[in-house]
């Protein structure tokens, strides 16, 4: 029931998050599992969110939306987006067990963000495919 990732894998995932998301202007990004654990997170150094609570709520939120999808006969909603006045949250499923959450301001367009998230997800997927979760 317990799993772990190597230092090398964690380093390369953080590099991907930095390069594809933080460096293009995303405020905060975190990779979580569906139990609500944080696997990796990065921010631009200017904000301090309570990431553990955010991860727990994000996993719950995504789980609730997935359960709704099943009820209406949709396999899943792999992408979620919450729009605010200043801050926005974007959820992207990586695999059955992992989720990428991005917090960004209105200075970045949703289209550009989706493109960047897509690139990061592809790379992270390759790393996570090599580990066995229960």
């Amino acid at each position: 029931m317990t799993y772990t990732l190597g230092q090398e894998q964690l380093d390369s995932m953080e590099e991907i998050l930095q390069e594809h998301l933080i460096d293009v202007g995303v405020r905060c990004v975190f990779l979580i599992d569906m139990a609500g654990n944080i696997i990796a997170n990065k921010d631009n150094g200017k904000i301090k969110h309570d990431v553990y609570s955010l991860a727990a709520l994000a996993a719950g939120n995504f789980g609730a939306v997935s359960a709704m999808a099943k009820i209406i006969g949709e396999g899943e909603f792999s992408l979620l987006f919450h729009k605010g006045k200043k801050e926005n949250i974007h959820f992207n499923k990586i695999s059955a067990e992992f989720l990428l959450i991005t917090i960004f301001s209105n200075e970045i367009s949703l289209g550009f963000l989706r493109l960047k998230v897509g690139e990061a997800v592809e790379k992270i997927k390759k790393i996570l495919d090599n580990i066995n979760t229960p």
């Binding site: 029931m1 317990t2 230092q7 380093d11 944080i38 609570s53 709520l57 789980g63």
Partner: protein, 201 residues
């Protein structure tokens, strides 16, 4: 599903408080939050209805110090106890490492306790987990009500109903006064960590 992060030297562990509605799961967390307010740096997260009933879950992250050089972060969750919220209950149980079953000791709630523990067994099975294998502790809550003349179930009855097969540790407690709340938590934390250490070997 505990996650071990060798880079940050950190382990994240998920403990869920389960049990029938109005049994005192949230009160357990509120007591812990109050008691350890100096060590818990974040707010307790609750998602509840207007009527103050848990709708989705409560969440309380809690640093308990280091074990074998790893900082252990315990994430305490509660489920909504009401029967109708089974779908959300199941979601909260995802990736659980340890369980506290909070039973309501009031005589009138006997049936509700039994149904809830059966429901726990079914929902764990949904994630291919066995109630007999996962670390679990029982708490017989509301013992303080005896003083007000409210009929309570004898501990032997509670043991027979809920613990005859599990044969795990149980605590007579009162979440509202704090009696045995911390020992219950300490017990489940130590059982869960022991399992994780065994898993990693």
């Amino acid at each position: 599903m505990a996650f071990v992060n060798p880079k940050k030297k950190e382990v994240q562990v998920k403990v869920v408080y389960y049990g029938p509605g109005r049994g005192g799961k949230t009160t357990n967390l509120e007591y812990i939050y109050k008691k350890f307010d100096k060590r818990i740096k974040t707010e307790m997260v609750t998602i509840k209805t207007h009527g103050d009933r848990t709708l989705f879950f409560d969440f309380l992250p809690f640093d308990i110090g280091t074990v074998n050089g790893y900082e252990v972060k315990i994430q305490l969750y509660t489920v909504p106890g009401q029967v109708k919220y089974d779908a959300t209950r199941r979601l909260v149980l995802r990736g659980v490492d340890g369980i506290v079953f909070v039973a309501d000791s009031m005589e009138v709630r006997r049936e509700k306790n039994i149904l809830s523990i059966k429901n726990l067994q079914e929902n764990l099975a949904n994630y291919k987990k066995s109630i007999f294998k996962i670390p679990i502790v029982l708490q017989y809550n509301k013992m303080d009500l005896a003083e007000q003349g409210i009929p309570l179930l004898p501990v032997e009855t509670l043991e027979k109903d809920l613990n005859s097969q599990l044969k795990t540790s149980s605590f007579e407690a009162s979440a509202i006064t704090g009696k045995n709340v911390v020992p219950t938590m300490k017990k489940i934390v130590s059982m869960t960590i022991a399992t994780i250490v065994k898993d990693l070997k």
